[in-house]
Symmetry: C2
Subunit: 276 residues, 2 copies
């Protein structure tokens, strides 16, 4: 593993690291924030999954999470959103290929050789982080924004016991019924919708739910509400009697100004569970 | 004035606005954060001046100031760092011309027609903000990072009564003796160093000081310490018995991770004065 950069931040260290990934077959870059508490031993971790077009860097610089993580004594990991590089398949559209991994393990050409973000985020990267840093991956929460909210919700519900707390900012909530989903799931997983169900938060909420608290924030002025379909997930969540809150925040849009505004709530929400 | 964007943030609005500037002879863009308190009437304002290569946008997205400004009930203004456009002189170097206005009113060719950031930041933009928004520019503090810290310090000391509180993050503290300064002051103001004195925070601190509290933070691992020369300003500040604090923050570098870490302290420092 190679250290790309390390910056002091809120008494801890915001690092960026690169490594060769077996799962994606290319070099991957991720951000890791270690709070001051990590100097005394392993700390819990909050996974933050980013949205379409993002790299590991966007949330690391714009979401305002580090100060709250320092206060709470938890680490943050910011994975990339897809495999990268000249040898990796891509598409001219912003919402398919590099920068748009959709947190699935692709089975279809040309994506299958590299697009394994599902396994990368839930298996390979946690092991690598646990081996190299003072992070206790058994005390893990997961969150994300937009496509990353979709990833957080589906990964958490598909891996019972892997994450203790779950939240999302403006997630793509029902991708099997949305143009943010049908195109990508078809490309990565093929045309049989049976393969898609695990990757739809609304369907997963109906079928399995989450064994722990869930917090979801959505802006009422989000320019992508028709694609996100929050109403479907909220209905499924409440029909299931899922512990948690679905909050419609009046006036907020899809930007990082929305994410940063509610970041304190989310970090504290996870910390309350992870530090218990 | 044209609204470029407005995003809800921390209960207030992060706006970006563009306008034709008489002083710089080109269109200028700035960010303005209005806290929730502005809905009830004019609020105090903190001017944030950015560093080399920055636009109005960098600090607006990466400095993490809005949440603290919302809490404190003060507005934030993020001006650009220079005039912009094809008709505006420029230089291939990152530290001269567009993105590097150095907060002076240039007198020399080819810079004089547009490079009037001193007057723009201290006169034209405040009037424009006061006329168009619920901002009380008589209750103003000023801060900035690197080149912007230089601007904040020199503007505040040269305009007694204009600003009530003054702070800086890693300012260019003694530009008449630094390669971040000699080149630019010579280009913009000519080779007579007498014209430079107003634009050197250390010299201004020795000659005039500031009628109010001053807070300066500097990272001990800043990669530009030799260019910033904090020791000169600290010496001048304490020799003058200037009210305030000069803090050397162990382990921090020159990045926005440093700025965001100490932003809460700075916003609260200004708010205490401006809300008094």
């Amino acid at each position: 593993m190679k250290t790309v950069s390390e910056n002091a931040a809120f008494g801890g260290v915001q690092g960026v690291y690169a490594h060769a990934s077996d799962v994606t077959g290319c070099d991957m870059t991720f951000g890791l924030y270690l709070p001051p508490a990590a100097q005394a031993g392993p700390v819990p971790v909050l996974w933050y999954l980013s949205g379409l077009t993002c790299t590991h860097e966007n949330a690391m610089t714009k979401a305002g999470a580090q100060g709250w993580a320092a206060e709470a004594g938890i680490a943050l990991v910011f994975p990339d959103t897809s495999p990268r590089g000249d040898a990796v398949a891509d598409d001219d559209a912003y919402d398919l290929g590099q920068g748009a991994g959709f947190y699935v393990d692709a089975t279809e050409a040309p994506w299958a050789p590299h697009f394994g973000m599902w396994s990368y985020v839930s298996d390979e990267l946690p092991q690598l982080v646990a081996d190299a840093f003072p992070v206790d991956i058994t005390r893990a929460g997961i969150t994300g924004h937009s496509m990353g909210g979709h990833g957080a919700l589906t990964l958490a519900m598909a891996h019972p016991g892997r994450y203790r707390s779950l939240s999302a900012f403006a997630p793509i909530a029902h991708p099997t019924q949305s143009d943010w989903g049908k195109k990508q799931l078809s490309a990565y997983l093929g045309d049989d919708p049976a393969a898609w169900d695990t990757h739809d938060a609304t369907l997963m909420m109906r079928a399995k739910g989450f064994d722990g608290p869930v917090l979801i924030d959505q802006g009422s002025e989000d320019q992508f509400l028709d694609l996100l379909m929050p109403e479907a997930l909220a209905e499924a969540m409440m029909a299931r009697r899922q512990q948690g809150s679905f909050r419609m925040q009046k006036g907020y849009d899809h930007s990082y100004f929305f994410v940063s505004t509610f970041m304190r709530d989310h970090v504290r929400f996870h910390a309350e569970v992870l530090n218990a």
